[in-house]
């Protein structure tokens, strides 16, 4: 079946349907990871986005239950160059196509994804629509232009958990039990209680914390700070998530209160941006974001380079950084802030994804640093 991807700038790409039939809309972004399409599909930070994979052969190893980052695919749509009709891996439980259809994700294949990526790179991310079947491209372009902008949108409310819950460590074992998980450098001396705000949390963050002997309770994004503190956590974790951080004002308010509470706090991605906002900085939208598994980040204290997994469209503006925050990590591609630390409190955050999944494990040490801060208390 034919499919079309239309962009707000009036261009459109002819392809073939590679997932569920129908129509979908969102912000079109590209990801340069060469592995890990299933982790990307299920990362809640992609809510509202149509993700283009720049790697051309997608779906080769099918899908497996242990490779999910949330309960289901979260992307608004999926764009590929060549989708595999079969799955080939000993762990695979089905094909990618079957998975997309089952979860009603509209996807398009056979697209010149490099041309699309170049367009997104030069004019910035764009709104777009994918539709399958016989559709008029011009009409789709019009529809793309009516898609709400990402800036100013609170998408967290759509992906956060409705109720608080305790993360089951058996889930962690599903992956770390095999030889795939990175062994923790060390486990905590005692069971540490971590309160994790779910703005769209990736499961592997929970798996990593659990692997370090943390008892993790996951809280809805809107949970008041007081309620979280009432649980008496050893540390607070601010998760990744989709959309514009500045639009999630309730979360910023809560983080501000938590900073004052003096509990060790660790933020990743959206959590990092919220921490920046809470400390008084501003965020801005990047032209086409950072999405991939190869971005070099420099740890300023040691000079060490980490190859990082990234997925964000917004960034903390260094010009607006308050005196209480210190930049700890920089992106070597474009010099944007990748890590922040409070100058006097056990609070730090990174823009990228130390939990990887997909991507390199270079930054896994950050979980240990979080552990250290909690154990100091």
């Amino acid at each position: 079946m034919n499919a079309i991807l239309a962009l707000e700038n009036g261009t459109w790409f002819q392809g073939v349907s590679a997932g569920a039939p129908g129509e979908t809309a969102g912000e079109v972004v590209f990801n340069t990871s060469m592995t890990g399409y299933q982790e990307i599909l299920t990362d809640p930070s992609y809510a509202g986005q149509i993700v283009t994979m720049t790697a051309p052969q997608i779906g080769n190893y099918g899908v497996a239950s242990a490779d999910t980052e949330s309960s289901k695919p979260q992307v608004a749509g999926f764009v590929m160059r060549d989708a595999s009709p079969i799955s080939s891996n000993w762990r695979a439980t089905g094909t990618l196509r079957g998975y997309l259809v089952r979860h009603n994700i509209v996807a398009i294949g056979d697209v010149d994804t490099r041309a699309l990526t170049r367009a997104l790179r030069s004019s910035g991310v764009m709104r777009g629509v994918i539709a399958t079947g016989s559709v008029a491209p011009a009409e789709l372009v019009e529809r793309a232009r009516r898609v709400p902008h990402m800036a100013g949108s609170d998408l967290v409310k759509d992906v956060t958990t409705a109720e608080a819950y305790d993360f089951e460590t058996s889930l962690a074992d599903a992956v770390t039990g095999s030889s795939f998980g990175l062994a923790p450098l060390r486990r905590a001396q005692r069971t540490l209680k971590v309160a994790a705000y779910d703005y769209g949390i990736k499961t592997n963050i929970l798996r990593r914390l659990a692997a370090h002997n943390c008892q993790v309770r996951v809280f809805p994004a809107s949970t008041p700070a007081s309620e979280v503190l009432a649980w008496e956590p050893d540390g607070i974790f601010l998760s990744n998530g989709p959309g514009d951080p500045a639009a999630v004002t309730y979360a910023v308010d809560n983080v501000r209160q938590l900073i004052d509470a003096d509990v060790p706090m660790f933020g990743i991605c959206l959590g990092h941006q919220l921490m920046g906002l809470a400390m008084g900085a501003k965020t801005f939208k990047l032209k086409f974001g950072h999405r991939g598994a190869n971005h070099p980040v420099k740890q300023l204290e040691t000079g060490a380079i980490e190859i990082t997994s990234q997925n964000h469209g917004f960034s903390v503006d260094p010009e607006t950084l308050p005196d209480t925050a210190r930049v700890t990590h920089l992106n070597l591609y474009d010099g944007t802030i990748e890590g922040l630390r409070h100058i006097s409190k056990p609070i730090f955050s990174v823009q990228y994804h130390p939990e990887a999944s997909p991507g390199p494990h270079d930054a896994d040490y950050l979980f240990q640093e979080f552990l250290d801060e909690m154990e100091k208390k």
Binding site: F13, F30, T32, S33, M34, T35, G36, Q38, E39, T54, A55, P56, Q57, N60, Y61, A64, A66, D67, R81, D82, S84, P85, I86, S88, N89, W90, R91, D112, T113, R114, A115, T117, R118, R121, V175, S178, S179, F180, L182, G292, A293, N294, H295, P296, K298, G303, A304, I305, I307, L332, Y333, A356, S357, P358, G359, P360, H361, D362
Partner: protein, 1089 residues
């Protein structure tokens, strides 16, 4: 972190001659390293015995030594040059082994030289299989169960534990030489014995088999601050059991989940750290059990490698260049990425295309060789292809191999002769199954045949262990082929044509499938407006702008070629290495680029060989990594023309590959620069060429052409036996033979490949015992001709010029003959209106100079002459083709060498058990070395030493020659006796020598009794063998002797002239002693005299 300040002078060790397992990838990496080091202000001293390399161009280093790569030679160079450091990681296993030897001999310490790039302990951990295994165990990385043995008994104990099949890997050998897979005890004893013998430390690893597991490689880099990046992952389509050099490979890895890939990456980081490679690149191989994901580390190379060259070309990340900078102390984030300019080298390339590497074998040259692919590499070259999908890259890869019609995947595979009669489908199934189970160079063709017959993926997977994902891709190709065949060309829709082209089908392949001419496919495709676009290789999957026009074609919508409106020239490269067309032609192509650049042209390179300097994005202004077919080249021409300028092509430098395209390109309206394709054709067309020589009054051995057995007999009767027979348009003497009688002639004509009226078999009278001479010259548009060199062959006519040793200046030619040769050369060049290079071969017999062959193009000897003369012949030729006259370039006199230089060939026989090492008109050597000195003898010693043949200074010489040679061998035997050598002869030879006053003992021939000559060679009782063929009866005896000598490393000389040269060389060795001299010093001495 600024670069190290304690290092000012660095010695870079090259990899020596091209051999199987070590080819021009090390010229590419060494050249990059030299450039990188000099750009940092360091003085570079280079040593490499291979003159056909860009790295040995005198401009590339401050001091260039084309000298044998042995510890004693290196010590002499170190003593003279006093380098602060040695970089041993860009010259393959050869350089690494030399570094270890220099350390063991205390030379590094004695001269206070540091190793950079890899330390001795790191090399030892990586190379010593036991140390490696223990190191892996220490860091918790699984390895196959294994044990190290130093004797056969130990090996047998090991295999009792590790079981069969058993992998045998000798320590410290390159490309898996001497290794193998044993399926039973007998086989094990044989392979283990050979391995123990061939390992320089007489040690083998006996390893648990992981045959059939998926095989992967990571190309990784680490800097002094412990930063680590993976440049590229490579997946072998052929699973474990086939050497990675013989595997079809794909980048990036396509069947790994992120979990599996990251686990491998973590292991890679731990391995490079534990092995202790502080700076630079390494290659790490892994195997994964497809059933449960179990991963084991197989091996690690602490240096740049063939795979790293592939990874560099596949990603645009120049590993060797970066490795050289890291060795100086730079950190990855301090080095910019050339392609994006704005980002640093501390990242991991993201690829938005698929790269397929296909090995190129040359088994047709070694009919007795075992074609089974094992852990010992057998391919002689490779082609790389890039496409947006696996299918596209795969089919482009197949057509890059230039296998002709036989190479088309959808043809029936060639069965062994006995099977061809069988016919029944049951027999064919049995045969197919065998071809799938036992990997050979033809397995992929069998696989397509099986798919064509409808075999299921599961079944083929069971037989081959190839991952089902790849099999699915192949199946889709077969289905597309069937659809195309069913629809036919006339009814082909835009959609189907586009789908076929997007899947990688070439016009030629489609023509074959559809039963039409290629031009018909092309017309239809143009009519349907299905045209390729060009995409850029940018290291970052389009995330950043690319400033480097490094491109590949694909059938996509957007084209990024962005041609300029500058005056431009397209240089067509030489494709995958093969015997007869190797690095020499890539060297010439690079110099063509340099020459045209100097003349203000924008240079555009087209080639598909990932090992080469020509496919470095730094060499030409624009690089198209594409197959060298009419279709692919025309697509580039058409796209480049969009810059609204005329686009010319250059076909003279890349050997036979571009020449084959010349006429077609010209017919399509493309300007061919230099000598016209018509002249090239005239020289190849035996009738036209004979007429020309007749008109010029230049003698030629009588000759004729034949397309049938009857015609051949007729011609042979006219010219008289013996005759030389060969097909037209071949390089490296493919299928060339000397025929002494009618029966053999008949057999030749029946089995000859590719005979047609356009391409008849050429039959020349063979001049026995003639002296052979090669001449290279350059001519300009005004008719000026300058001779680059007159090279005298050391072996007599009848041995392919590529397999002969030769020398400049010619010691054995009189002035009269030299004058004749010069005169003929000039007249032929003028008659052919040569603009550029021309190679002429002459034979001198009975005081007459005959022309054997003329090739108006770059020849194999051009780089050697360039080094000997100190003038870049190919570059001069390119500038002449660009319109300059030789006078304008200041080249008016015939060139003269700056010393005495001998070129010697290097052969791959050691890899092909059972193959005779005798030389003939069909070329068999893979590479060459050069030796220079003031005297012929010394230059020959060095050339032999460079080629791995250490001539003895004392000991015993065994002489066994045929009756005809007995008279000529006498003075040689006397000479050896005078030098104090003990003379041993086989019965007939000994009797003759004794009768003529040479004191000589007798040894049995192989079939006469024991201990035979072969036994005595193995027992090290003989230090030199002179053995000329005795004719058919004793063929097997001779062969056994020659092989025994080769395996024992005893020089075996098979011609009388060669024996005379060896005698002179040994005499020189004893009187002069071996000295080294930089090329720059040779040239300076000439300039000042």
């Amino acid at each position: 972190m600024p670069k190290r300040t304690d290092i000012k002078r660095v010695l870079v060790i090259g990899s020596g001659p091209i051999v199987i397992g070590q080819a021009c990838e090390f010229d590419y990496s060494g050249t990059q390293a030299c450039k990188a080091l000099r750009s940092e202000g360091l003085e570079v001293i280079l040593v490499n015995s291979n003159p056909a390399t860009i790295m040995t161009d005198p401009e590339l280093a401050d001091r260039t030594y084309v000298e044998p790569l042995t510890p004693e030679v290196l010590e002499k160079i170190i003593a003279i040059e006093q380098p602060d450091a040695i970089l041993p990681t860009v010259g393959g296993q050869t350089a690494l082994n030399l570094a270890v030897q220099l350390d063991a001999l205390g030379i590094l310490k004695k001269y206070n030289v540091a190793l950079i790039g890899a330390s001795i302990p790191a090399i030892k951990v990586a190379e010593d299989r036991l140390l490696f295994r223990d190191a892996m165990t220490e860091i918790g990385i699984a390895v196959p169960a294994s044990g190290v043995a130093k004797t056969l008994d130990e090996a047998l104990e090991m295999v009792a534990q590790t079981g069969f099949p058993s992998i045998i890997r000798p320590s410290f050998t390159m490309g898996g030489v001497g290794g193998g897979i044993a399926y039973n005890l007998e086989e094990f004893k044989e392979i283990a014995g050979r391995g123990l013998h061939m390992s320089p430390v007489h040690e083998i690893l006996v390893e648990e088999s992981v045959i059939g597991w998926k095989e992967f490689e990571l190309e990784v880099m680490r800097d002094a601050a412990d930063n680590f990046v993976v440049i590229c992952s490579i997946e072998n389509i052929d699973p474990m059991g086939v050497h990675t050099g013989d595997s079809i490979t794909v980048a990036p890895a396509l069947t790994l989940t992120d979990k599996e890939y990251q686990r491998m990456r973590d292991a890679g980081r731990r391995i490079i750290r534990r092995v202790g490679v502080e700076t630079g690149g390494s290659n790490i191989q892994f195997a994964i059990n497809p059933d449960d994901g179990r991963m084991v580390a197989i091996e690690m190379n602490p240096r740049v490698s063939r795979s790293s060259a592939l990874a560099s070309k596949a990603t645009g990340f120049p590993i060797a260049k970066i490795a050289a900078k890291l060795a100086l102390g730079y950190h990855l984030d301090e080095i910019p990425n050339d392609i994006t300019r704005v980002t640093p080298a501390s990242f991991e390339p993201a690829i938005d295309y698929v790269v397929v590497k296909f090995p190129r074998w040359n088994f047709e040259k070694f009919p007795q060789a075992d074609r089974t692919l094992t852990t010992q590499m057998k391919s002689v070259g490779e082609a790389m292809a890039i496409g947006r999908t696996f299918k596209e890259a795969f089919l482009k890869g197949v057509r890059s191999l230039e296998l002709g019609k036989e190479g088309l995947l959808f043809r029936r595979p060639q069965m062994d002769e006995k099977e061809e009669d069988a016919g029944s489908s049951e027999d064919e199934d049995t045969e197919l199954r065998r071809l799938l189970v036992i990997p050979t160079d033809r397995r992929m063709w069998a696989l397509f045949r099986a798919l064509d017959k409808g075999w299921e993926i599961e079944k083929i997977h069971e037989l081959t262990n190839i991952d089902p994902w790849f099999l699915q891709q192949f199946k889709e190709l077969v289905e597309l082929r069937k659809t195309a065949e069913m629809i036919g060309l006339r009814d082909m829709s835009y959609d189907l044509m586009r789908t076929l082209k997007r899947a990688g089908f070439g016009d030629g392949e489609l023509a074959d499938i559809l039963g039409v001419n290629e031009s018909a496919v092309r017309e239809k495709r143009n009519e349907l407006k299905v045209k390729p676009a060009f995409k850029r290789i940018d290291t970052c999957a389009a995330e950043f702008e690319s400033f480097t026009p490094y491109m590949y074609s694909t059938f996509e919508d957007e084209c990024e070629a962005d041609p300029t409106d500058q005056q431009k020239v397209i240089i067509l490269g030489s494709g995958p290495n093969r015997i007869g067309q190797g690095i020499e032609f890539d060297y010439c192509c690079c110099h063509a680029v340099f020459g045209f650049k100097k003349e203000g042209f924008e240079t555009v390179m087209v080639n598909c060989n990932p090992e080469t300097v020509s496919t470095d994005y730094d060499t030409a202004d624009r690089l198209y990594f594409e197959p060298l077919t009419f279709e692919d080249v025309m697509a580039i021409v058409e796209r480049e023309r969009e810059g609204n300028v005329d686009v010319s092509c250059v076909v003279q430098f890349g050997g036979q590959t571009p020449l084959k395209l010349a006429l077609g390109l010209q017919a399509a309206g493309v300007t061919i620069l230099g000598t016209s394709p018509d002249s090239i054709d005239l020289a190849e067309d035996r009738r036209r060429f004979t007429e020309l020589l007749w008109d010029l009054g230049i003698p030629q051995p009588s000759s004729g052409t034949a397309t049938s057995r009857a015609e051949a007999r007729e011609v042979a009767a006219k010219v008289g036996f013996p005759v030389v027979v060969r097909p037209s348009y071949v390089l490296g003497g493919r299928a060339m033979a000397i025929v002494y009688d009618v029966t053999t002639l008949d057999r030749y004509m029946i089995s000859a490949v590719d005979v047609s009226h356009d391409r008849p078999i050429l039959i020349d009278r063979f001049l026995e015992h003639a002296k052979e001479v090669d001449v290279d010259c350059v001519a300009d548009e005004s008719g000026a001709v300058v001779i680059g060199g007159i090279m005298e062959h050391i072996e007599e006519a009848g041995i392919h010029s590529g397999d002969s040793s030769c020398v400049v200046p010619p010691p054995g030619l009189g002035d009269r003959h030299l004058a004749t040769i010069r005169d003929y050369t000039r007249r032929i060049a003028k008659a052919l209106k040569v603009i550029g290079l021309m190679n002429t071969q002459y034979a001198i017999k009975d005081d007459t100079v005959y022309v054997l062959e003329v090739n108006p193009r770059a020849s194999r000897t051009v780089p050697y002459l360039s080094k000997a003369n100190g003038l870049p012949l190919a570059q001069i030729a390119a500038r002449v083709m660009a319109g300059k006259s030789l006078a304008e370039l200041g080249i008016t006199d015939d060139m003269t060498p700056a010393g005495v230089f001998v070129k010697s060939p290097v052969f791959p026989f050691v890899r092909f058990p059972g193959v005779d090492t005798i030389l003939g008109p069909e070329m068999k050597s893979t590479g060459e070395v050069m030796g220079g000195a003031d005297s012929f003898g010394m230059a020959f010693v060095k050339a032999m030493l460079g080629a791995g043949q250490r001539l003895p200074e004392e000991g015993s010489v065994c002489i066994s020659v045929n009756n005809e040679d007995k008279g000529e061998v006498l003075p040689i035997a006397k000479g050896f006796a005078e030098l104090g050598f003990q003379i041993i002869g086989t019965r007939g030879t000994a009797a003759y020598l004794r009768a003529n006053g040479v004191d000589c003992s007798v040894v049995f021939k192989v079939n006469e009794g024991r201990p035979s000559l072969a036994d005595e060679i193995v027992n090290r009782k003989i230090s030199l063998v002179v053995n000329t063929p005795h004719g058919r009866e004793s063929f097997f005896d001779d062969k056994a002797v020659r092989r025994a000598a080769m395996m024992a490393g005893v020089p075996c000389i098979t011609t009388i002239t060669g024996a005379a040269a060896a005698l002179e060389a040994i005499r020189a060795l004893r009187t002069e002693g071996l000295e080294v001299r930089a090329l720059q010093d040779y040239y300076a001495a000439v300039a000042s005299s």
